[in-house]
């Protein structure tokens, strides 16, 4: 068989790419499509309608769950950003072996099965007599999210010369001012990326929310799960589409914010909080 010339299109690669994208996005596309179906069927699209969105808008319990999940995600994002950044800044200053051990321990939540974290949180909360509510969900989600923030912020800090903070001190900043005026602004891309990631993870997190939530209102993923047990409604598709929209809007908002900060940060670096060249 003659060797193919390099200029020819690598057909196999193109085919694999198309298949991969189909595998990734067809289910999502189906969810979006059937959320606009005018019949209850989940297999045949018969006509365009907004009836499921209409149903959704009048499902008081579901709306409450949506608000609850947005609250949980917002509070957990803020809480883990503050604690995770403080942890990252602290670890950056402890350069001993003890510091490396602590640094490794902070990564454990990333590899701990979520179900273990969930059960542990439940045992802790009931053990100390804390009533299960949205607060307990927020606390559990913060515990789980700190590691993500710390990893991303530490990555950015590693690329930031210690001389930058010293320069701020040299130019008249107290340690606190140096942090506020120089170090934190330098961390903005990492903080945005970490915040976005944590928000997305927490917003649709089921396992932790399931273990630590009270009765009412339930976080959205828990509500969706329990409603599915009574039969699948196309309204679930509408929720899924809305959640997709929220995620997409968040990413766009973060990109716009970064542009406003005047940084040429790519979307990849936004997620990884990576160092800019």
């Amino acid at each position: 068989m003659p060797r193919r010339s390099l200029e020819r299109r690598p057909r196999t690669a193109v085919a694999v790419t198309v298949l991969l994208f189909a595998w990734l996005y067809l289910p999502i596309l189906a969810v979006t499509l059937f959320s606009f179906n005018d019949k209850k069927s989940l297999s045949a699209f018969s006509g365009f309608s907004l009836r499921w969105y209409h149903d959704l808008a009048h499902d008081q319990a579901l709306l409450e769950s949506l608000v609850a999940s947005l609250q949980i995600a917002t509070l957990a994002t803020l809480g883990s950003l503050v604690l995770g950044t403080m942890l990252a800044l602290g670890l950056e200053r402890v350069r001993s072996r003890r510091g490396r051990v602590i640094g490794a321990v902070t990564l454990l939540p990333l590899v701990t099965p979520e179900i273990v974290t969930g059960v542990a949180a439940l045992l802790l909360f009931t053990g100390i007599g804390l009533k299960l509510s949205l607060t307990t969900v927020v606390l559990a989600e913060i515990t789980f999210s700190i590691a993500y923030v710390t990893v991303i912020v530490r990555g950015r800090l590693a690329g930031l010369s210690t001389e930058v903070e010293e320069a701020a001190r040299d130019l008249g900043c107290t340690p606190w001012q140096a942090l506020r005026l120089v170090t934190l602004p330098a961390l903005v891309p990492a903080l945005l990326g970490a915040g976005l990631l944590v928000f997305a993870l927490v917003f649709d997190d089921f396992v932790l929310a399931f273990f630590t939530t009270g009765v009412d209102p339930q976080p959205l993923p828990v509500r969706v799960y329990s409603s599915i047990r009574f039969g699948v409604s196309p309204a679930i598709n509408a929720i899924g589409t809305l959640m997709l929209l929220v995620s997409a809007l968040l990413i766009v908002a973060a990109l716009v914010l970064l542009r406003l900060f005047g940084r040429g940060t790519s979307s990849l670096e936004l997620i990884t909080g990576g160092e800019r060249r």
Partner: protein
């Protein structure tokens, strides 16, 4: 004659030194990095700390800036003891090796950073920043982000950001090391001119002897945390006082021998007459050094000390020719000769040629 005038210059400039170090010592985990350093830098002086990497020069600078606490001794800035003063309250500013610019601020934001901390009103601040940008020739770059500037421009922003605060002393930590050779030479001249213009004391840390010699009023040579020698560039080059100083700055023909009747016997057949050296007596072992460019292979005068020798090797270096001349078994001198216009290729000595080396007695330096 120039040596005496430059040597007395720092003393005539100001009463209290800009920086004084008294027994400054830093120990890192059992290793003494800076060892009882005593130093006075006069007001308006361009002073260089020169030494190989790891000699303690950067640690010394960090102790003056306040980023590192001395184990012992004290730091005085403008006559005031600042040993336990935090960096933001010291009247010193630093130009960092990495420049350490604030990437989230534009050039004006960087340059005005220090003055803003001092609470200057907006009008004065804007005017001072504009003047400073004018001085470093970056007037048109005020609104650029540092990431969009070239290496040389970033360097000037770092300089402007520190200078605008008019510190008692400006600390520069190898600020030219990151630039390529050509730009470095241009910046050396620029930096020197700038220092003359603003009249601020510069304490410059470098491992580049050429940089230190060409820019400084005085140079201090450091090695293993100890001050080896301190003086004008001419002093430290022409009259090194230690074997390390003679070897670190330029090249030297170093020979060790024994004092005998006003000469140093470096080989059974070679006794080099040397100026009297205090602290060394008849029979003591000492080192002598002669700079390669001080040795002549011809045109000798009567005052010169002369020796027969044999050319071992000839290396052509463009502007100069370098010879190895054997003067005794196992003892050879390096001789550097300018390739002057009147010299032609056939005038060069070839290996095996018998020659006579000669130099003036005052060019023999006795070292301890």
């Amino acid at each position: 004659m120039t040596a005496t005038t430059t040597a007395s210059k720092p003393l005539s400039r100001a009463g209290t030194p800009s920086v004084s170090l008294r027994g400054l010592t830093k120990v890192f985990g059992g290793t003494t990095v800076v060892d009882h350093l005593d130093l006075d830098v006069a007001g308006g002086e361009f002073f260089s700390l020169l030494g190989p990497s790891g000699c303690g020069k950067t640690t010394t600078l960090r102790m003056i800036a306040g980023f590192s606490d001395p184990t012992d001794g004290s730091v005085l800035v403008g006559g005031e003891d600042v040993t336990s003063t935090p960096p933001h309250k010291r009247d010193v500013n630093t130009v960092f090796q990495s420049y350490a610019l604030f990437e989230h601020l534009d050039v004006r934001g960087n340059v005005g950073f220090g003055l803003r901390r001092k609470g200057l009103d907006r009008r004065t601040l804007d005017r001072r920043v504009s003047e400073m940008l004018e001085l470093v020739e970056l007037a048109d770059k005020g609104r650029e982000k540092p990431s969009r500037l070239s290496g040389g421009q970033r360097q000037r922003v770092a300089l402007a950001r520190a200078l605008i605060n008019e510190p008692k002393v400006l600390l520069l930590d190898e600020p030219l090391a990151a630039l390529d050779l050509q730009l470095r030479h241009a910046m050396q001249a620029e930096l020197k001119a700038l220092q003359r213009e603003v009249g601020i004391t510069f304490l410059f840390v470098t491992h580049d002897q050429d940089e230190a010699l060409s820019m400084s009023d005085r140079v201090a040579i450091m090695n293993n945390g100890v001050l080896e020698q301190c003086g004008t560039p001419e002093d430290v080059y022409e009259r090194p006082t230690s074997v390390f100083a003679a070897g670190f700055i330029g090249t030297s023909n170093l020979m060790s021998g024994v004092w005998s009747h006003g000469s140093v016997v470096v080989a059974p057949s070679v006794a080099i007459p040397a100026p009297a050296h205090h602290g060394s007596a008849e029979g003591d072992t000492v080192s002598v050094a002669v700079r390669p460019e001080k040795i002549w292979l011809g045109d000798h005068t009567d005052e010169m000390f002369r020796l027969p020798g044999t050319i071992e090797a000839t290396t052509y270096h463009g502007a100069t020719t370098r010879y190895r001349v054997a003067i005794a078994p196992g003892l050879a001198l390096t001789v550097l000769e300018q390739n002057l216009p009147r010299m032609r290729a056939e005038d060069r000595w070839d290996p095996g040629d018998r020659v006579e080396v000669g130099w003036l007695p005052e060019h023999t330096v006795v070292l301890t």
